[in-house]
Amino acid sequence: MPYQVKLPVFDGPLDLLLHLIRVQEIDIYDIPIAQVTAQYLAYLELMQTLNLDVAGEWLVMAATLTYIKSRMLLPRSPEDEEIEDEEDPRRELLEKLLEYQRVKAMAEDLRERELEHREVYCRPPLDAPEDDEDIMLNVTLFDLLEAFTALVERLPEAEAQELVIEEMSVTEMIHTVVERLEGEGPIAFEALFEGATHRAEIVVTFLAILEMIRLKMILAQQRQPFGPIRVSLTVEEKQPA
């Protein structure tokens, strides 16, 4: 049958399955797996005919559906009948679908907010005096190391006393640094080490800073070579114009 199709775009196998379920008013808790599998495969075939790129996940779902179908076809042995809550082979798929449906509802909620907020305008920036920030230099690893060494040297000689050191991981430190930068805006490199009393804490902070630079979470800049280093969140750097 010649059929003119403007192929809808589905975000993925789950999206397509939910669509099939919805338009046919199928009870999601009791999916006629044979019917849905056939329709799913038909759609896949369509995609292939149209030379669309069929990504792996589509094939995985096809295999999953076929597998579930075959398990549903197998007669249950008498022992199985006795076990009441023998798992429905569709269960895992059902859970995925329900979860995905929820995600779609959340996305839809966000869409409504997006559309509403698009209609909202704020004032553009006043003609504030230009900050000469654009001439900020990006700091090299050596600048950072130098600043770090200076810090460690300034560390007071540890007095001999028994202390319980609360260990902090790099990840936790990253959170801390992000929080500070979000709260206070760009701050001096040294300021990030304020309150650090132990060498270990300083090292962890430094590692956190390195990691964050690598992940492009923060920027380390200075106005002139060997000048003070300023650290700012990448997110903060570009305000919507």
Binding site: P8, L20, E108
Partner: protein
């Protein structure tokens, strides 16, 4: 000198982005309670009820914004055509990140059932998503979370302005309306054609809304 409603109004009028309670309180020469500032702001916001401009809490700060119903007019004034909507894939990914943060790419893909690297990259570039750190498991995958820009983009004061997951439409009560869009009409027909052969299960949705 107390921070009067008029002073706050002037400050927020002059500001071009949301100003936090802490920032406002800091401007006062004598110490003020943030709670007191908030109360005055709420009072001020109430004054703007029914006006073309609203005072709103956005991304943890306060800001004067035009009201959504006048968007059309404002757009004509400033000739703003540049606001591209986010794709459905991007919104889904964002939804997962917002509700499950901190979350890894694998967890996102597990929920969506599709590769999400490209979408994630776009969201990071648009700064709606930020990296929170790394998960302490094998492979140390990156953890993602929502950013301040996310709140700004959707006009949210903070994350608690979003409905709680359990308050979001229960799974069975229909799918997002967007799926009724024009692009789906063709497949609906196709599937319906098959379904009719199976015993006439039709669909009751009306005509898709004009794009």
């Amino acid at each position: 000198m107390t921070m009067t409603k008029q002073i706050l109004e002037a400050l927020l009028f002059a500001a071009d982005q949301p100003v936090t309670l802490a920032q406002l309180a800091q401007l006062s020469p004598e110490p003020v309670e943030k709670a007191a500032v908030r109360a005055t702001l709420e009072d001020l916001a109430a004054d703007y009820e029914g006006r073309g401009v609203q005072l709103k809490e956005v991304a943890g700060g306060w800001q004067f914004l035009t009201r959504p119903e006048h968007g059309e007019w404002v757009r004509r004034l400033i000739q703003d055509e540049s606001r591209a909507k986010l794709s459905r894939a991007a919104l889904e990914t964002l939804a997962i990140i917002v509700y499950r943060q901190p979350v890894t790419k694998m967890e996102i893909e597990g929920l969506r059932g599709v590769d999400s690297s490209g979408v994630l990259k776009t969201l990071l570039e648009r700064r709606l998503v930020k990296i929170l750190g790394r998960k302490r498991v094998i492979g140390r995958p990156i953890l993602y979370g929502s950013s301040r820009e996310f709140l700004q983009y959707f006009g949210l004061g903070n994350l608690t302005d979003l409905p709680r997951p359990e308050d979001i439409r229960p799974p069975l009560e229909g799918l997002p309306e967007e799926m009724q869009g024009e692009e789906f009409a063709a497949l609906e027909e196709l599937v319906e054609a098959q379904a009719v052969g199976d015993g006439g299960v039709g669909h009751e949705e009306g005509e898709p809304p004009a794009a």
